[in-house]
């Protein structure tokens, strides 16, 4: 499938890119990063124009984010009655809203490019938890700009060695993900120990 998509970038250029970034922001599994790499390489080889590529990719991504946010809002509103009826659910909702207030902007920004697999779900959450549209959009555009710039830039540097760069990038992403999980689990372990040390050699109850 990705070969076919790469062919579309070659044939349709920026339009294909806009469509793909749009779909990827709605959690549809398209290899958007790979295609942006390709677009960057095509800019370097003179097959595509940089400004078109950037505007198309950015436009598609921002549009996709907006749709996700809107969907989250609609779903949030419709579920609001049901959510607030139970005190436990209402507490969860309140906490979600609070987290969104505090770290929401940063979460939106980082999930555009660093943890992009979470992006579409953060869109839904942001809309559902009632994150302000202006903040969401600002953080979204900023993050998407980093994403587009980063991958297009790497693609341009990769030039004619896209396959090799794509492999390296895939491993780098995997490294980042597993490093994050390792750090998170390590931190959880640390807290677990600090809270109540379990006597490892305690004798069992008779």
């Amino acid at each position: 499938m990705s070969d076919w998509l790469l062919a579309q970038v070659g044939e349709w250029g920026a339009w294909a890119l806009a469509l793909v970034t749009f779909l990827s922001c709605l959690a549809i599994p398209v290899p958007s990063s790979m295609m942006m790499l390709a677009a960057g390489a095509f800019v370097a080889s003179g097959d595509l124009v940089l400004i078109e590529v950037v505007l198309a990719a950015l436009g598609g991504a921002v549009a996709g984010d907006q749709v996700g946010y809107a969907l989250g809002r609609v779903a949030g509103r419709r579920a609001e009655g049901w959510l607030l009826r139970s005190p436990t659910r209402a507490t969860v909702v309140e906490r979600a809203k609070l987290s969104m207030q505090r770290r929401g902007t940063l979460a939106v920004f980082l999930t555009r490019w660093l943890f992009s697999v979470l992006g579409p779900y953060v869109n839904l959450l942001a809309g559902g938890a009632g994150m302000g549209w202006a903040r969401f959009t600002a953080a979204g555009i900023a993050g998407e700009a980093v994403w587009v710039g980063l991958y297009t830039g790497i693609g341009r540097i990769a030039g004619g060695q896209m396959e090799q760069i794509a492999a390296a990038l895939g491993n780098a992403t995997g490294l980042l993900a597993s490093l994050t999980v390792t750090a998170a689990l390590g931190w959880a372990l640390w807290r677990h120990r600090a809270r109540a040390p379990i006597p490892e050699s305690a004798p069992r109850q008779p």
Binding site: D47, Q161, I165, S178, L185
Partner: protein, 115 residues
């Protein structure tokens, strides 16, 4: 036994941590290898595929674009950004035949003495 579920959780966390750490090391090694592979000049040419536009091939194999245009026998007045697959289709030849032609032309060009 209130200690039991706690103990189980601790072991689960530990196992998860070791697993994640292992994956981290695995990806780190793979990343190092892929970078070394990329940096090796012998591997710079990317195998020809249908989705590649001529400019991309030119960049990947270090061959001037005009040489490729001639080799691919691009019809006059074609859109500049043509992928190999499009060219093959426009000429009515199978893609593999076009790829062989282009690769042969590249080899010939590379064999030319420097002037």
């Amino acid at each position: 036994m209130s200690g039991q579920p706690r103990r189980w959780r601790l072991w689960a966390l530990r196992a998860g941590f070791v697993l994640a750490l292992g994956l981290t090391l695995l990806f780190g090694v793979r990343l190092a290898i892929s970078i070394a592979f990329w940096a090796d000049p012998a591997h710079t040419d990317q195998a020809l595929e249908g989705w590649m536009p001529l400019g991309y091939v030119s960049q990947s194999w270090g061959v001037p674009r005009e040489v490729l245009v001639e080799a691919a026998r691009l019809p006059e007045g074609s859109r500049p950004r043509r992928t190999l697959a499009e060219i093959a289709q426009a000429r009515g030849v199978p893609l593999s035949a076009l790829l062989d032609e282009v690769e042969a032309a590249i080899t010939n060009w590379r064999a030319l003495p420097d002037e």
